[in-house]
């Protein structure tokens, strides 16, 4: 070998494969304003549609008069439920097995509900038209408090369901009841509580909030009357699902529907579902024969498309005096708003909330979830979390702290005592999951050592004493959270959306010059798939990541996939990539064997090509094999080098992590300061540490927002009082704390490359860490649980309620 021969390290580095902090390929266009988002799509003759919305939370629609609107220059049409009935689209099915009004049909059920769709030559004219549509309403009593939804005299919200005692998920108990979902052994759990030495019970609410990506939901629909083809550009996290839904409800042949998700400006769960805007724009395009664009504004986004959370969780833990947990009992009142449009796999009305036993070895547990209707916007999306997993993690992590407080134990010590032990994996939880792998104790102890946990507790003790002596008005909280997520939906045995199994897919085509294209069923909304997917392929087949182009979002070219949400891309599509790459590699090995004139078994893989065992000079690079695949394959073999994989995962993956938050709160103002936030994540094999760190920073920032103030709040009349960025807490660079990230690596045993997914972990683990810090701060004053969000005003209220606020 001469000096010019690259070393093994250099060859590996040149691939920029797994583990490389590869810079993102997407950034070249994004930093120059050359991304292509939906609102950037401009077609000749394109019209704009916009909604007339209800000012009432609950009202009968007496009449809609569009005559004046149609006189407005530029206004071409006003679509109402009556128009949609002619094409049987006044209502649409939801992902949760319910139906939802596309446009108000007889009544409105939440404020800002879509009432009519005005189509005009531009967005200004559409707005002029909206102002001229006269709608006569007869207000009805609104139902806002979820705890009153099932009162005998509660208003009837869904008149369309009159007499229906069974819904998509079993019997309905009341006219505002949607479903009851139960899991676990009730008898055994009740028995555990009967003989428990210690129990706790608390109603823990996770308030309604909203994912609010910076780009709102939008679409452009273009119907070609000659070809009978409908093309939809949209902010879709799951373009193939949208295509199938459109085919089913619009009765168009699926091959004549082209769905394109171009660049997406953040999703966070907001862009999974199908919204009235999409249906109306499609109908408007079919009616007018012109492309129609619909772009919601921020207020519409916050008030009408897909809230998240709104779970009210009555939580009980049974334990021994020594702090060993013996049972968990949870009842959830789930406020789904006016229609059950919850975006969960079809058989899971409360998502994977049964991960609520968390990281702990509960011998028995029982869970019941009651879903109910209220006069609020529909939704229930997984805002940067797997389905209802953040609710579950918050529930158990808050409850464990409450138990620690009752036992007089340190909350970290209580967690260490009850963790599922490494040797118990694969672990079967009391509520039915099989956890794939974990080493919780190591992660928790590493976190505690890094932040010097024992010293922090001493400092807190000293500060509390000083507070009691009247020397300070500041209290200190240490929030511990140890979460286990369940992501990667999912195995076809238990996960589907509208009957379609939740697999995902990858197609790889290698070109003669050693470059290639990979097409995916997923869709990045900022996760950097164009960068990371190529890294997996690079390591698998020894072609530099720079030579692999990744393409997503076009249903005509991409293999069918279920899309990107619930941290499923890496666990499911990431596996499909590895499997497709391995098919390429297997064929490449046959070609190499033929070219090197040896048997396949005599070859070994060596970073970027195959080498004959024992004869290091006989080597054929993958680049050369690509060329050979197009001119000299073995006799009988088809030329070319392509592969497709549809991956049905055998199990979910279970990322976990230990987060610690240190906070101080001024009891006279309620102003808090996050002194330190440490996040240790274990997401198994790490594909791109730079991107993982970025995901954790972003997820923690969203967790911070949610825990400390971000809320969709309604007044008693059903008016949204947090409907703009003025009122809906959006942390800026000033409020956002500094994040410290760390990791351990416990690979998933069933994933081809051992990866588990990470994008949502920080939201799942972050919210309880913040809330536990606030609650821990107040606990020595006699408080057990303070509901989120913990904004300054509520902190001040808490101080006041605990009798420690002193007016100046």
């Amino acid at each position: 070998m001469n000096d010019m021969t690259p070393t093994r390290e250099q060859r590996t580095a040149a691939l920029e494969g797994l583990g490389c902090k590869r810079k993102r390929v997407e950034d070249i266009r994004f930093t120059q304003g050359k991304g292509n988002y939906v609102d950037d799509v401009k077609l000749p003759g394109m019209l704009h549609g916009d909604f007339v919305r209800s000012p009432h939370a609950h009202a009968r629609v007496k009449s809609i008069d569009d005559s004046e609107a149609l006189k407005v220059p530029g206004v071409l049409a006003v679509i109402t439920a009556e128009t949609l009935k002619t094409v049987n689209l006044a209502w649409m099915p939801t992902l949760a097995g319910d139906v939802q009004m596309v446009l108000a049909d007889g009544k409105v059920l939440f404020q800002n509900q879509e009432v009519a769709f005005v189509v005009a030559t531009d967005r200004y004219a559409a707005d002029d038209g909206i102002n001229k549509v006269k709608v006569e309403y007869e207000p009805l009593p609104p139902l806002i408090d979820p705890f009153k939804a099932m009162d005998a005299d509660a208003p009837v919200l869904r008149e369309d369901l009159a007499g229906k005692t069974t819904g998509a998920h079993g019997p309905r108990k009341h006219h505002n009841h949607i479903f009851e979902w139960t899991v676990g052994d009730k008898e055994l759990t009740d028995a555990a509580f009967k003989k428990a030495e210690v129990t706790i019970k608390e109603m823990i609410s996770y308030h309604r909030t909203h994912p609010s990506p910076l780009e709102t939901c939008q679409c452009v629909c273009s119907f070609d009357k000659i070809k009978g083809e409908l093309t939809i550009w949209g902010t879709f996290q799951a373009p193939h699902v949208i295509r199938t839904v459109v085919a089913l409800i619009a009765k168009l042949p699926e091959q004549k529907i082209h769905v394109i998700s171009p660049d997406i400006g953040g999703g966070f769960g907001n862009k999974v579902g199908a919204y009235p805007g999409y249906i109306c724009a499609a109908v408007a395009s079919i009616v007018t024969g012109k492309p129609v664009k619909w772009v919601e504004d921020r207020i519409e986004n916050l008030t009408a498309t897909s809230f998240a959370r709104d779970y009210h969780m009555t939580t009980e833990i049974a334990a021994t005096k020594q702090g060993k947990v013996t049972g968990l009992r949870v009842h959830v009142l789930a406020d789904h708003g006016a229609f059950d449009a919850c975006a969960d796999p079809s058989k899971w009305p409360a998502g994977f909330f049964n991960i609520v036993t968390g990281s702990y070895d509960f011998p028995t547990a029982h869970l019941a979830v009651d879903g109910i209707y209220t006069n609020k916007a529909p939704g229930g999306v997984a805002y940067r979390c797997s389905f209802r997993v953040t609710e579950a993690a918050y529930c158990i992590e808050r409850a464990m702290d409450i138990l620690a407080q009752k036992l007089g134990m340190d909350p970290a010590e209580l967690r260490l005592k009850n963790f599922i032990r490494p040797e118990q994996f694969p672990y079967h939880s009391a509520l039915g999951w099989e956890y794939d792998s974990g080493d919780y104790g190591t992660a928790m102890r590493k976190a505690m050592e890094t932040v010097k946990y024992a010293e922090l507790r001493k400092e807190q003790e000293a500060l509390r004493a000083a507070f009691k002596r009247g020397e300070t008005r500041e209290i200190m909280g240490i929030g511990v959270s140890f979460f286990t997520e369940i992501v990667g939906a999912g195995p076809s045995k238990n996960c589907d959306i509208l009957g379609i199994a939740m697999f995902d897919s990858c197609e790889i085509r290698m070109h003669p010059t050693g470059a290639g294209i990979a097409r995916m069923g997923t869709k990045s909304q900022g996760q950097g798939h164009e960068t990371t997917w190529a890294q997996i392929i690079a390591t698998e087949i020894g072609i530099p990541a720079d030579n692999i182009m990744v393409e997503e979002g076009n249903t005509d070219t991409a293999p069918y996939g279920l899309g990107t949400y619930g941290s499923r891309s890496t666990p499911v599509a990431g596996a499909a990539i590895a499997m497709a790459a391995r098919k390429i590699k297997a064929k490449a090995q046959m070609i190499a064997a033929y070219k090197l004139e040896v048997h396949e078994d005599d070859l070994e893989w060596d970073i970027d090509g195959f080498r004959v065992k024992g004869l290091p000079e006989k080597f054929m690079s993958m680049k050369d094999i690509c060329w050979a695949a197009y001119n000299s394959v073995p006799p009988g073999m088809e030329p070319g080098l392509e592969a497709v994989s549809y991956y049905d995962p055998p199990n979910m993956t279970y990322p976990f992590g230990a987060y610690i938050c240190v906070m101080t709160i001024d009891v006279d103002t309620g102003v808090y300061k996050v002194r330190r936030f440490y996040a240790l994540d274990d997401c198994g094999t790490r594909i791109n540490p730079m991107i993982i760190e970025g995901q954790v920073h972003g997820g923690l920032t969203e967790a911070f927002a949610i825990a400390m103030g971000q809320e969709i709040r309604y007044d008693a009349e059903g008016n949204v009082v947090t409907g703009s960025f003025m009122d809906f807490f959006m942390p800026t660079a000033v409020e956002t704390p500094h994040w410290e990230t760390d990791f351990t690596v416990t690979p998933s045993p069933h994933h081809p490359i051992g990866a588990k997914g990470v994008g949502e972990s920080p939201n799942v683990g972050g919210v309880p860490a913040f809330s536990n810090a606030v609650n821990d701060a107040f606990s020595f004053l006699g408080s057990t649980h303070i509901q989120m969000p913990h904004d300054f005003w509520r902190n001040w209220q808490a101080a006041k309620n605990l009798g420690v606020f002193e007016a100046a």
């Binding site: 921020r298 900022g526 972003g698």
Partner: protein, 166 residues
């Protein structure tokens, strides 16, 4: 509605257009000029995605009428690359420090950051955080955006960039 003739300089080139008095500057830039790098995130002046530079000041173009920019010198993200087409220090900084994810806030963030560095060529971390507090990012948690701006400041000032320890 009667229309008004306006002219302005955008990224160094003279442009003109016929707009209604109510046309927002951001719509003039995106629709009339077909320059779609400037984004709309809230339409209420909170998010900063539509930030452009007008006569040496950062302006949220969703809250200014196009007619108000008549005669102005406007710079948008499309005017930010180096003359030879390579990424400018800020654009490079955002890429090197992973200061963006979905890319939707990025044009506004870069436009604000370039003005900030003209106002204060060597800002502290706190000054950067305050300086970009009119721009919301939902993806990054800002930490890497701060680093990206520090990277660019160092490059522009000709000094070595040292990443602060975690």
């Amino acid at each position: 509605m009667a229309k008004t003739q306006i002219t302005m300089k955008v990224n160094g080139a003279e442009v003109e257009g016929l707009v209604e008095p109510r046309t927002l500057l951001v719509h003039f830039i995106r629709e009339n000029l077909q320059m779609t790098g400037t984004h709309i995130g809230c339409e209420t002046t909170h998010c900063g995605a539509c930030t452009v530079d007008i006569d040496g000041m950062s302006v949220k173009s969703c809250t200014m009428f196009a007619v108000q920019a008549d005669g102005s010198d406007v710079t948008t993200i499309e005017g930010m690359a180096n003359p030879d087409g390579s990424l400018s220090a800020l654009q490079e900084g955002f890429r090197m420090m992973h200061g963006l994810q979905c890319g939707f806030c990025t044009p506004g963030m870069i436009m604000r950051a370039q003005r900030l560095l003209k106002e204060n060529p060597s800002p502290t971390e706190a000054e950067i955080r305050m300086g970009i507090s009119g721009n919301i990012c939902r993806c990054t948690g800002y930490q890497n955006i701060v680093k990206a701006i520090q990277y660019a400041a160092a490059k522009i000032n000709g000094v070595e960039f040292r990443e602060a320890a975690e």
